[in-house]
């Protein structure tokens, strides 16, 4: 029943951002590479073409670009005593599927972490003393520093075609940029896009209060751009269909627009779609992997694909699951605190204040995925954790990314949800609202982790990934602090109506409303096999020819959208593979 295919030098599991990066960089070494993608093929034409792509019902509501939960999903519980239940339809996060992965349907918001986020435990110890860290908070230091990663952040931003205004070039603060960002060796590859009315209003209010507004950096092209692989992007036209959609006009940074067409021309690279990897196979001595076994949808059979190097480049959740299913690293035990695989699952916390201006026009359908103005005055490096009583930070922004009316119909709270008053309310208020929100860090905790669900299985009979996660008082305290700061700015803008939506101290994790697809941890990096599932080069500690990319490596989540760090870590790791591992295969750390 199972067939065995011819051996490859490298097999890559998942063809999203990091699979494409790994594929391209290793293809340049002349290696024979096969990428396996569980979802369908996706190209700008025909799969993302105008106007069919920009259908809010199909993409925004029915999640056509996403993994089908019927194919695979996760189970969720809030603590060790609850019974986890499956996410039967998507809500809180949206997992990508198909070629390009989540890099197709993201908004493009691209950030680097702040330097102190990479060595967070040391930073806290040196500044306030470790005693301010709650007993159950399992934060640590990444085994790599911002300074070491800087060239790789820069590389990813140049490949991905990121727009923005630098705030700190080689330590010198730049006017108009984010003065709180880590140092950059150069400016962004493209200048920022213009911004809509809400952004200017927010910027003026924030500046009047002494804050430091800047345009959000990200992967929406502001001009024509050609990257090092010869891939070309064109300027974004603010169509207002970014997140949950594929970009029909080559403006959003994605594997498709920046890497894949160039990669597909390499004769030593090939890929298969409808190829869901079931497990990594191990050599008899348990020291290395021999390849992967996948299910070939078309042939309807299992296939063993031998390879010298296995790269797990699926989404965080699937990477953790494949490690657990394949026996890579020791499974984490939240009771004893021993083990690493599945440890330190992280997420992000958000909240927002909505403002209605009866006589002003925002044209909310005019948007790009990154459109908006931010302040970082309440970010990680600005916050005095000791005085504030929480560990964390957030950027605050006023975004306008889409005004699609099924999902984007904010109304004053006293408007009924249906009936004649609702119908008149939507005409009265649509286009007269803007909001200010925060996007905040979530620390790692002893009880927040991933393991294999004991009950629910996928169609291949494999256990689903089980996530145990809830809001922790530390993040809820930060959230309350940010609410106060945002409302202060909002009030200064004198809206006709103002209302807030933030978690309170009784809030439990709720899988229904969309929050962020910024799931992190579980395949965390560590300086030792006791503290990480992978080493500083994303290499499995116990299987030296297995590398694991993606946000699973995050020791704790940062305050930012994760893609910049994900891309930087991928270039950092593949550089080590190219320079060191290929010459001398074995543990790199």
């Amino acid at each position: 029943m199972a067939r065995t295919d011819a051996k490859k030098d490298v097999v890559i599991v998942g063809l999203g951002w990091t699979g494409a990066i790994m594929g391209m960089e290793l293809a340049q070494e002349g290696l024979e590479i096969l990428a396996l993608e569980r979802g369908p093929n996706r190209e700008t034409v025909p799969e993302m073409r105008y106007p069919n792509m920009i259908d809010e019902l199909s993409q925004g509501e029915r999640h056509n670009m996403m993994l089908r939960p019927a194919q695979s999903t996760v189970t969720i519980r809030r603590n060790l005593n609850e019974t986890a239940l499956p996410m039967r339809k998507w809500g809180s996060f949206l997992l990508g599927n198909g070629v390009g992965g989540s890099g197709v349907h993201w908004n493009g918001q691209n950030w680097r972490p702040q330097p102190i986020e990479m060595q967070l435990r040391s930073h806290i110890r040196d500044t306030w003393g470790e005693e301010i860290i709650p007993e159950d908070m399992t934060i640590g230091d990444y085994p790599v520093t911002y300074d070491e990663l800087e060239p790789y952040f820069d590389r990813f931003e140049r490949v991905a075609g990121i727009t923005g205004a630098a705030g700190n070039i080689n330590g010198e603060v730049q006017e108009g940029g984010n003065p709180f960002e880590g140092w950059r060796s150069g400016d962004y590859p493209m200048p920022p896009l213009p911004v809509t009315y809400n952004g200017i209003k927010f910027a003026e209010a924030a500046r009047a209060m002494g804050y430091h507004p800047f345009l959000r950096p990200g992967g929406n092209a502001s001009t024509s751009y050609v990257n090092e692989y010869g891939m070309q992007m064109g300027a974004c036209n603010f169509c207002g269909f970014c997140e949950r959609y594929g970009c029909y006009q080559y403006s959003k940074s994605s594997p498709q627009t920046t890497i894949l067409a160039a990669l597909f021309r390499k004769p030593n690279f090939s890929y298969r779609t409808g190829a869901e990897v079931l497990r990594v196979e191990m050599a008899a001595d348990g020291q290395t992997a021999t390849g992967v076994t996948y299910f070939d949808e078309e042939a309807g059979e299992e296939v063993f694909q031998p390879a010298d190097i296995v790269i797990l480049a699926a989404y965080q959740i699937e990477n953790v699951r494949l490690m657990l299913l394949s026996g890579i690293g020791t499974p984490y035990d939240p009771v004893s605190g021993q083990g690493v695989t599945g440890k330190n699952y992280g997420y992000q916390i958000t909240g927002s204040t909505s403002m209605f201006f009866r006589d002003e026009h925002f044209n909310p359908f005019i948007g790009s995925g990154i459109n908006g103005v931010c302040i970082d005055d309440f970010g990680m490096s600005a916050n005095d954790f000791g005085a504030l009583g929480f560990i964390g930070g957030a950027y605050i922004s006023s975004a306008q990314t889409n005004g699609q009316p099924i999902r984007s119909m904010p109304l004053p709270q006293d408007t009924p949800a249906w009936g004649a008053e609702w119908k008149s309310g939507i005409a009265e208020w649509y286009g007269h609202q803007m909001s200010i929100g925060h996007h905040g860090s979530v620390m790692s905790y002893r009880g927040h982790y991933c393991d294999l669900d004991p009950t629910y299985r996928d169609r291949h009979g494999r256990p689903l990934m089980r996530i145990t996660f809830d809001w922790h008082p530390n993040e809820l305290r930060m959230n309350a602090y940010l609410k106060e700061k945002i409302e202060e700015i909002a009030r200064s803008m004198q809206p006709d109506v103002m209302q807030s939506s933030y978690k309170d101290y009784n809030s439990r994790y709720d899988v229904r409303p969309y929050q962020t697809t910024h799931n992190t941890g579980g395949t965390i990096m560590g300086a030792t096999p006791e503290t990480g599932a992978v080493n500083r080069y994303l290499q499995a500690w116990d299987k030296h020819n297995v590398f694991v990319t993606g946000a699973g490596a995050f020791v704790q989540n940062t305050q930012y959208n994760p893609t910049g760090l994900v891309g930087g870590l991928a270039y950092w790791a593949v550089d080590a593979i190219r320079r060191q591992y290929l010459r001398n295969p074995g543990p790199l750390a």
């Binding site: 106007p51 019902l57 509501e61 239940l85 502001s222 036209n237 009936g419």
Partner: protein, 240 residues
Amino acid sequence: MTFPPEAPLFPPASRARRQFLQVSAASLAMVGLSAPFPAMAQADLPPLEDYAPEFFTPGEWAFVLAAVARLIPSEGAGPGAIEARVPVFIDRQLDGNFGQASDWYMAGPHQADAAPEFGWQTPLSPAEVYRAAIPVFDDWCRDTLGAPFAGLETEAQDEALTRLEAEEVPLAPEIRDFFKILLANTKEGYFSDPIHGGNHGMAAWVHIGFPGARAHYLDWVGQHNVRYPLGPVSISGERA
């Protein structure tokens, strides 16, 4: 670091905005010359009363017509759910992937009475929820208000829906979210592209000022606090 008061907020973008404003002045002039766009002929559709449902039985259809007519009534400015052909949209949705939950993870065991924060936990698909809930709600209307929902006066219908929304109508856990699903589907049918059967003539988009699939606004990014003047286009190329 603080900006000097006279400094522009974002120098590069401000330059870009000035360029856009020049372009936009020209765009406005063009709009003035050509507006309003003549409406293209809508596809000839049978009247709603002649529509033959694919999914709903006649009794269910009568309920859906009556219920969405109260959720988004016809009176006042803008289309009601009936004029928008929302019932057609719901019928088509329930007959398709969404109604059958064919993309969702529906394997057991099920815990339909789980805390709401766990999301969809009923073993029933959306189509099965409608099928199971409509007769229960109609029975409740008959027992409490004297007639099945479609036979009630509009004030009584509003009262029944209000009490359904407030969870005062006893429903088994498997169908407890019926009102939420019905309301969400009604709004989807009102606001989605006409390609899905609702939002007839894009009248709901006209009502709120959403331009649909126009999807090209670069000239308008820098036009702050100016209402966008163009009407919607649909995926199949209609204008309104």
